[in-house]
């Protein structure tokens, strides 16, 4: 016991000292290797539907870029010529643990950048530390608008949109398809993400569908509670026919299973902003006619067709992992793309291997063609991405024997996202001024 602990400590001290030396003598000259921490849920309930697909998306793109086997315009080898060595880290275990692990990534493992974070909790808690430690950090999935609303971030970027867009697009889709509905309610997990999502949806509905009335009893069950019998009864007794939900992972699946047996989806119009993973997982078990989104031009919404890049991504992913890439796969993949672009540009400009500040300069306001479509970091001082957000309706394709989404409708970012410099909440409460979708 002591031996091992002593060994542990000794090892720690040595590696630590070595690290500090390395730090003091780090040349900005050409590097053949960069180390990047890739954080996602590898255990716990979110691993299956989010963490692992995300991790795989990143891995796939990293390998392709290292080899240079990706289609144009990303066919140049490596990141500013360097090979990227990923360090995969588990995001589960609570925000505090994530902060500790982030410090270890930067200070102990000496990574050059960090990509990842799915839960709003962990991205909000890691961001300030990233700025404190001055390490480039690319948030890939986390959807809380607060990330850049609490002030500018120097070293943090988010390469995907946030919850406001999802909720606004959802209520726009309602306006376009279910304008004659009487009332709406919701079932969301009882934690920050669920509470925010419903609040935004509620506000957006008040602006976009003033004639549809809100229910007094939206449900907020404990996250990962698993048993929704009581909630389902309450929703069934509620007169509102539209039911909004930001459920994800195990909860969406459990809810769908328990609700569909009770004929819930025949009586109610279910609107899921984040449940796409369940559509593939449950296959035929997943009810038809559910309004489904993927938070952007990702996953099942654009699975068929799309750009050559998208087709390459879908095929390569299926060949390697034997499943369709999900939303998170796209989001992690495009975060890696962004890093490559910024580094290549910076290298071009600098003429040598770029240092972090040069990379960050290029990263600001970056805009690139991702698998689904164009992403531009046009908000939060060029740190926050905007892109169209779409919804469709679940269906089953008998020939292909797989689920599909029909009636897909995308809403441009100018219409679903608050203009720069305004917090999502202010904007929604003010009635979405400046949105191109207001009639």
């Amino acid at each position: 016991m002591t031996i091992s602990i002593r060994g542990l400590l000794k090892g720690a001290v040595i590696s630590g000292l070595a690290a500090t030396m390395a730090l003091t003598s780090m040349p900005v000259a050409a590097k053949d290797k960069i180390k990047v921490g890739i954080v996602s849920f590898l255990s716990g309930p979110a691993a299956g539907p989010f963490g692992v697909p995300g991790r795989n998306g990143a891995e796939l793109v990293v390998e392709a870029l290292n080899k240079g086997t990706m289609p144009a315009p990303y066919n140049s080898k490596g990141f500013a010529g360097a090979q990227l060595e990923p360090v995969f880290v588990d995001e589960s275990g609570g925000n505090t643990k994530q902060v500790a692990e982030y410090r270890n990534l930067v200070q102990k493992q000496e990574v050059d950048a960090v990509i990842g974070y799915i839960s709003s909790g962990s991205c909000l808690s890691v961001a300030p530390v990233a700025d404190e430690l001055k390490r480039l950090t690319i948030i890939s999935v986390c959807g809380s608008p607060r990330l850049f609303e609490e002030g500018d971030r120097s070293h943090v970027f988010r390469t995907t949109g946030h919850a406001v867009g999802d909720s606004v697009a959802a209520s726009l889709y309602v306006r376009d398809k279910f304008a004659d509905a009487k009332g709406y309610t919701g079932i969301n997990q009882n934690y920050a993400w669920g509470q925010d999502s419903y609040k935004f949806f509620d506000l957006a509905m008040k602006t976009l569908n003033p004639n549809i009335s809100a229910s007094e009893k939206p449900q907020f069950p404990k996250i990962f509670a698993g048993q929704f019998g009581t909630e389902i009864s309450t929703l069934s007794l509620d007169s509102a026919e539209l039911v909004h939900s930001s459920f994800w992972d195990g909860d969406i699946e459990a809810f769908v299973l328990q609700a569909s047996v009770r004929g819930f989806f025949k009586e109610k119009q279910f609107i899921s902003t984040l449940g796409a993973s369940a559509v593939d997982r449950l296959g035929k078990k997943f009810p038809k006619g559910v309004v489904m989104g993927t938070r952007g031009e990702y996953g099942i919404l654009i699975r068929r067709g799309g750009s050559a890049l998208n087709q390459w991504f879908v095929k390569a992913y299926r060949d390697k992992y034997g499943a369709y890439p999900l939303g998170p796969s796209y989001q992690y993949g495009q975060a890696v793309l962004a890093l490559k672009l910024a580094m290549d540009k910076a290298a071009e400009k600098a003429g040598t291997f770029p240092d972090q500040d040069q990379i960050i300069d290029e990263f600001k306001g970056l805009s690139w063609d991702s698998f689904g479509g164009k992403i531009s970091l046009s908000q939060g001082n060029g740190h926050q991405a905007v892109h169209p957000v779409g919804f469709g309706i679940t269906d089953w394709d008998d020939e292909a024997g797989e689920p599909v989404i029909k009636d897909v409708k995308f809403y441009p970012s100018e219409c679903v996202m608050p203009p720069a410099g305004q917090t999502g909440l202010q904007w929604l409460e003010a009635g979405m001024p400046g949105s191109t979708c207001l009639k």
Partner: protein, 298 residues
Amino acid sequence: MDTAFTILLDGLTYASYLFIVSAGLTIIFGVMKILNVAHGSFYAWGAYCSAYFVGQFAEMGLPDWTGFFAIAGSAILVGAVLGLLIERVILRRMYDQEEILIVLATFGIFLILEDVILLVFGVNPYFAYQPMAYLGSIELGGITRDVYSLTLFALAVVIAVMCWWGLNKTRWGLLLVAVIHDKEASMAMGINVQAVSVATFVIGATLGALGGAYIAPTVSVAPGFAVDVIVLGFAVVVIGGMGSIPGALIGSVLVGLLRALTVHKMPELELFVIFIVMSVVLMFRPEGLFAPAKARKI
């Protein structure tokens, strides 16, 4: 009226769930005075096994109702294997230790088994909806209900009756009661307390596994879904009185109904209603509602 009926029904269904989960916990505590955190692992393993086998049966093209055998089988399998393993290898060595240490040991076991699940079954969720689909749904009090969760109620009643019968009407049950009442005396009377303990632990484990196995068809069986069950189970057992089967029953019904009521009437309280009940009960009846109030030292 309908609402009241619905609340009652929802409450009892949830109560059944709670009772099935906590029955094993309370039996083990009663006989062995062990607060078994690893009970959550029994639950999780039961759920995984039943989900796995139900899935296999479905793939083999067997009819949906065979799923019920998968459920029962997995419960017994898990209870026997894990129960024996843990009792024989670890707990047997610590019966003379402080309660707190034993609780921690079971906590360690829980941590280990959590990751073993991950290594054995992977991170992707398992589904076993066939049995629930097979039973379909009926209309009750103005809303549709799935028959499966109603059978949960039946199962709870069966378990309760079996426990009562086993404890009061069988020779073995009488031995058990003797041991619960006074370990030393029972030893002196020549009861093989060792054997009784093993049997109890296996039965408790099987009940825990049965809880998971039976819930599996209604949920997505994914890593880490047992953490809450432990706390829920503890709360119920503490409310009812640790080691008392009727206590667990009353505790479950109390919590089940209260929860249903809050979800329907004031959803914002749902998150911690159970712990408020627990605190209140403990404050006025430290030994819980049912366990005989021990004579205080001072």
